[in-house]
């Protein structure tokens, strides 16, 4: 968890403590949840083929392509990537492989 939360929602939270109607009080709290566990296909970044064109970055619906301080893409965030494969389709350099999840 990188930010201070107004309300920490974890699997142990009781009905008395949770937010009204499941309201989310902290923008970006998906960071606290691993939502990539139902992925059936997995994108693999082929670093050697990648030209850092960054076309993959804006199409990811889950912000699961991580960018470093130099503005270059790095590894996938597999905790949140759902394996939709949009990045695979958009890559002009075949630098993202798409394989079945183990």
């Amino acid at each position: 968890m990188s930010k201070e939360r107004k309300k920490v929602i974890n699997p142990e939270i009781t009905w008395k403590d949770t937010t009204p109607g499941g309201m989310i009080l902290d923008a970006g709290n998906a960071e606290d949840f691993k939502t990539g566990d139902w992925r059936s296909m997995k994108p693999i970044w082929l670093k050697d083929k990648c030209k850092q064109c960054l076309l993959c970055y804006p199409v990811c619906p889950d912000t699961s392509i991580l960018i470093d301080e130099d503005g270059k893409r790095t590894e996938f965030d597999y905790d949140h990537c759902k394996g939709c494969g949009v990045c695979v389709e958009v890559c002009p350099f075949d630098a993202i492989d798409f394989v079945e999840e183990d």
């Binding site: 929602i9 009905w15 949770t18 499941g22 923008a27």
Partner: protein, 393 residues
């Protein structure tokens, strides 16, 4: 000084809405509730309210717009009947689960089919488990008073639930009766400003409403909803007390009419109570210990209070203006008998389904029910529990 006037039920409700001056009204017309948005839109056009009126294309959209507006931080109201309420169904549950205190006037009408525009309770009875507080009113005065109280009940921090203000189509909605209105400024002071703790338009504190809620959290949120409904009972009584101080009109969870020493009683909802009170008076003149209970708060269901009120009766008839098609009894009957079970023993309880599709209910019909109860008291035998009143056999 209160304002004496003569208004139909729908006019009275539209006037209550004008006095509350909600931020948003999103509505679609359907008989017999049509006049509410009709009158209200004229208030909007004439600049008598500041409300954003959204003339939507369906009731599903009406409730969706209300949910969006209320979540954004707006005090929101709407009105509907019968199939309009049915078309809202999906969104009713979402309004309740999002804890949004929308006020909805339901002008009770038979739910199709067969298609029928007249009064029974099959519309709102179907929505009894949607998570909305349900208030019922006998007269135009009660419909007006209940809507004003509905705002304050729903918005109470211990409740935060949407509220239905139900009253009988045509009988109450269109009949013009005398009414005592509260002054505009007193209504505004009574309901106060709507100040939700969290709302979508709060740009300093961005939130998300209604997110995906799976196995790990859904159950906790439903438990939370149930708690709000349990707490609503106390809030309803507190609001009623405050309302009585303002107007002198007393409201409870239900009305007891000549119940102190009643041996036979009927339990009824909405306008039929007026007809039945007349019959009770006639029976009392003959020395019959007859009484009546008129339900005002159906959700939450006042289990303990109603049991206490009925505990000294020998025989009770529960009157349902909606059938459950469960081959066992109407919705109010099953709730009353469940309430009595394990709390009070030995009371004979029967059920009458009556007045479906606007079938007229006369004093003779009600007298027939009291006669049946007196016969049960005399013989100690119930011939039939689940009965139909006024249908051609």
């Amino acid at each position: 000084m209160a304002i004496r006037d003569r208004l139909s039920g729908n006019e009275a409700v539209a006037v209550a809405m004008k006095q509350v001056n909600p931020d948003v009204v999103a509505a679609f017309p359907i008989t017999p509730s049509t006049e509410i948005p009709q009158y209200f839109s004229s208030f909007v056009a004439d600049g008598k309210v500041d409300t954003e009126f959204v003339p939507v294309e369906s009731e599903h959209s009406a409730m969706s717009a209300c949910i969006g507006a209320q979540a954004a931080g707006a005090r929101t109201m709407t009105a509907t009947s019968a199939n309009g309420l049915a078309l809202m169904w999906e969104m009713l549950y979402i309004a309740a689960s999002c804890k949004l205190p929308i006020a909805l006037s339901v002008v009770n009408r038979a739910l199709s089919g067969p298609i029928n525009i007249h009064n029974d309770h099959s519309d709102s009875m179907g929505a009894r488990d949607s998570g909305w507080v349900q208030l019922y009113g006998e007269t135009n005065q009660e419909a007006y008073d209940n809507l004003i109280q509905a705002v304050k009940i729903g918005e109470h921090p211990d409740v935060l639930l949407p509220v239905m203000n139900c009253y009988d189509g045509f009988i109450t909605s269109h009949a013009v009766e005398n009414i005592e209105l509260i002054e505009d400024e007193k209504v505004k002071a009574f309901v106060g400003d709507y100040k939700p703790e969290h709302y979508l338009n709060d740009k300093e504190n961005p939130i998300a409403v209604g997110p995906l809620d799976l196995q790990n959290h859904y159950f906790e949120h439903k438990r939370q909803q149930a708690e709000s409904m349990m707490k609503a009972k106390k809030v309803i009584l507190e609001v009623a007390e405050e309302f009585e101080k303002l107007t002198g009109r007393k409201y409870g969870l239900f009305e007891e009419y000549k119940m102190e020493d009643a041996e036979v009683a009927i339990v009824v909802i909405n306008s039929t109570a007026g007809t039945a009170k007349y019959v009770v008076d006639q029976l009392r003149e003959k020395g019959v210990k007859a009484g009546l209970i008129k339900i005002r708060v159906y959700r939450p269901f006042p289990v303990d209070e109603i049991t206490a009120a009925l505990s000294k009766c020998k025989a009770i008839a529960v009157m349902d203006k909606a059938d459950s098609f469960n081959a066992a009894g109407g919705p109010l009957f099953t709730d009353i008998t469940s309430a009595l079970y394990g709390r009070v023993d030995g009371i004979k309880v029967i059920n009458y389904i009556y007045g479906l599709g606007g079938r007229d209910v006369r004093t003779d019909d009600i007298a027939f029910v009291y006669d049946a109860l007196l016969e049960i008291v005399k013989t100690g035998e119930i011939k039939s529990v689940y009965n139909y009143l006024g249908v051609r056999e």
